[in-house]
Amino acid sequence: MDITLEKSARTAANPSSWPALLVSVLKYALLLLTMAVFIVPVFWMVSASFKTLQEIYTFPPQWIPSQPRWENYVRAWNAAPFGRFYINTIITTFFGVTAEVLLGTMTAYAFVYLPFPRKNLLFLVMLAALMVPIHVTILPNYLTIANLGWLNTYQGIIVPGASVAFGTFLFRQHFLTLPTEILEAARMEGAGHLQLLGRIVLPLSQSILVTVSLISLVNKWNDFLWPLIVTNQTHMRVLPVGLAYLYDQEGTNQWGIIMAGTIFVVLPILVIFVWAQRHIISGLTAGATKG
């Protein structure tokens, strides 16, 4: 108490520094509090996944398990076919992202570099699809997939989500900024449009390619409603749906096992995020500020 009084008395001679210090302390406190709000739940999840049932049932809670153990991971892996869930998710995500990037770049290339009467109107028709997300049309789309005999198949999960409107928009925005002289020169030398796309436009678009791929990857990996509806066999489930299955199997008291399963689902994306968060954020903000 005395010390602070003394300090404030001393700094009173310098009117700006004492309030400035207080404000900056407050700002740091706020920043730390904010970080805690987002870190603590994640820490709680990780910590529980290493706890024994005994430790989970302790109150007040134990922050760090006294003897961290992998048992919950083993039990989660055995309680639901997580190996299979991983394979399914990797396959549907990989082909989903590839299809989106391929279709998106080709469509954007056509809209920027190829002539067609009223192509701007067509572009609007494409963007209008953003208003019809799959959540609105799950029922008729389910019937289409069922009629094709595609229930419980990879193509049933992948194909309806492969069309790309927002990605095309981002690619088009980028292609419009590319210098036309290079393309003209290549045209003069007789390069066809597929060559122009593959050899010139795409190499000049690496960062937007990474960004769109990452956003698409995150969406496909986490997709829940559509894969839930078009699969009903456990071995065809993807990770997020498989996690809900694990929760049904284990009930609400086996939190250690369920948190281990949760980590199976989020860990790959978290690793990718740490490595590439700049690309993801830049893509999302570009869509917002140029829209």
Binding site: L30, L31, T34, M35, F38, V40, P41, V42, M45, Y57, F59, P60, P61, L103, M106, T107, A110, L114, P115, L122, M126, A129, M131, V132, P133, H135, V136, T137, I138, P140, N141, Y142, L143, T144, V159, P160, S163, V164, A165, T168, V218, N222, F224, L225, L243, A244, Y247, T252, I258, M259, T262, V266, I269, F273, I281, L284, T285, A288, T289, G291
Partner: protein, 299 residues
């Protein structure tokens, strides 16, 4: 090779090439975005259990059933409360976080990443982490309630706490998106505006009201529209945490659609709910387009 004489033919060849390039994407959009809308409009006028070979045409019976059903009023109210709470929460907290992360503080880059991280994680996974945090006996939040001398509410089982719980989780997961977009908006505001205001003797508070907020209005508008469109579709968090319960307390329009179609097998009612959802989203988009034409900005 022989370029010049092929000029006229070349143009029509490029038209074909255009169609070939956009063809696959437009085919998929047609089959899985536009056609289902038409088909769903038709289904909404029929009664069908999704199994029997025949659909009975019933006119607007499904809409009548939906709007007069005792639970449907609550479904609409839940959807409205959920969407508005998410909207207000995302804008206010998102702007607050952005202002904080825009300060010249050490660790703000890490802060931005940490705040944004939940946005890229699976909603099903986040929902389960929070189901555990909300657990009234073993959960983390019990600690905070006990610290202030209260018993923890039975979040996911109590009809008056379940919807707030789901809203909190959705906000926690997605507020980083608004924060990051606002942060980009803040960084686009020219410093000269603030310096000019300072010369005129404006306080920080006045600068915030007369420069920051108006300059951010296009961003706010963008976030308003996208937040409504996304939050109205929220599904995975509700699916793992409450399954629309207890007693419909967290049944939103999307959950109602799913439950009518894939649990109760009332295809017609599910289709009617899908059409209603589409009309709502269409109105929001039309509102956006008209508004953007009038320019949100004042400068």
């Amino acid at each position: 090779m022989v370029q010049a004489p092929a000029k006229r033919k070349g143009i029509s060849r490029e038209h074909l090439l255009f169609l070939a390039f956009i063809g696959p994407n437009f085919f998929l959009l047609g089959v899985f975005s536009y056609w289902p809308l038409i088909y769903q409009a038709y289904l909404s006028l029929t009664r069908w259990d999704m199994i029997s070979p025949t659909k009975t045409f019933v006119g607007f019976d499904n809409y009548h059933y939906m709007f007069t059903g005792s639970e449907f009023y609550q479904v609409l109210l839940n959807t409205f409360v959920f969407t508005v709470a998410i909207l207000v929460g995302s804008l206010v907290l998102g702007l607050g976080l952005a202002l904080l992360l825009n300060q010249p503080l050490r660790g703000r880059v890490a802060g931005r990443a940490i705040v944004f991280a939940p946005y890229v994680l699976s909603g099903a996974a986040i929902g389960l982490v929070w189901a555990y945090i909300f657990d009234p006996v073993y959960g983390l939040l019990r600690v905070f309630f006990n610290a202030f001398g209260f018993a923890s509410p039975n979040w996911l089982v109590d009809t008056s706490w379940a919807l707030p719980a789901v809203i909190i989780v959705y906000l926690w997961k997605n507020v980083g998106y608004s924060a990051v977009i606002y942060l980009a908006g803040l960084q686009n505001i020219s410093h000269e505006l603030y310096e000019a205001a300072k010369v005129d003797g404006a306080s920080d508070w006045e600068s915030f009201w007369h420069i920051t907020l108006p300059q951010l209005s296009p961003v706010t508008f963008f976030l308003t529209v996208t937040t409504i469109l996304f939050s109205i579709q929220a599904f995975d968090i509700i699916a793992v945490m409450t399954e629309g319960g207890p007693v419909n307390a967290t049944t939103t329009l999307v959950w109602y659609l799913y439950q009518q179609g894939f649990i109760a097998f009332r295809a017609g009612t599910a289709a009617a709910a899908g059409m209603l959802l589409f009309v709502i989203m269409l109105l929001i988009t039309i509102f956006q387009l008209r508004f953007v034409q009038r320019r949100v900005h004042y400068s």
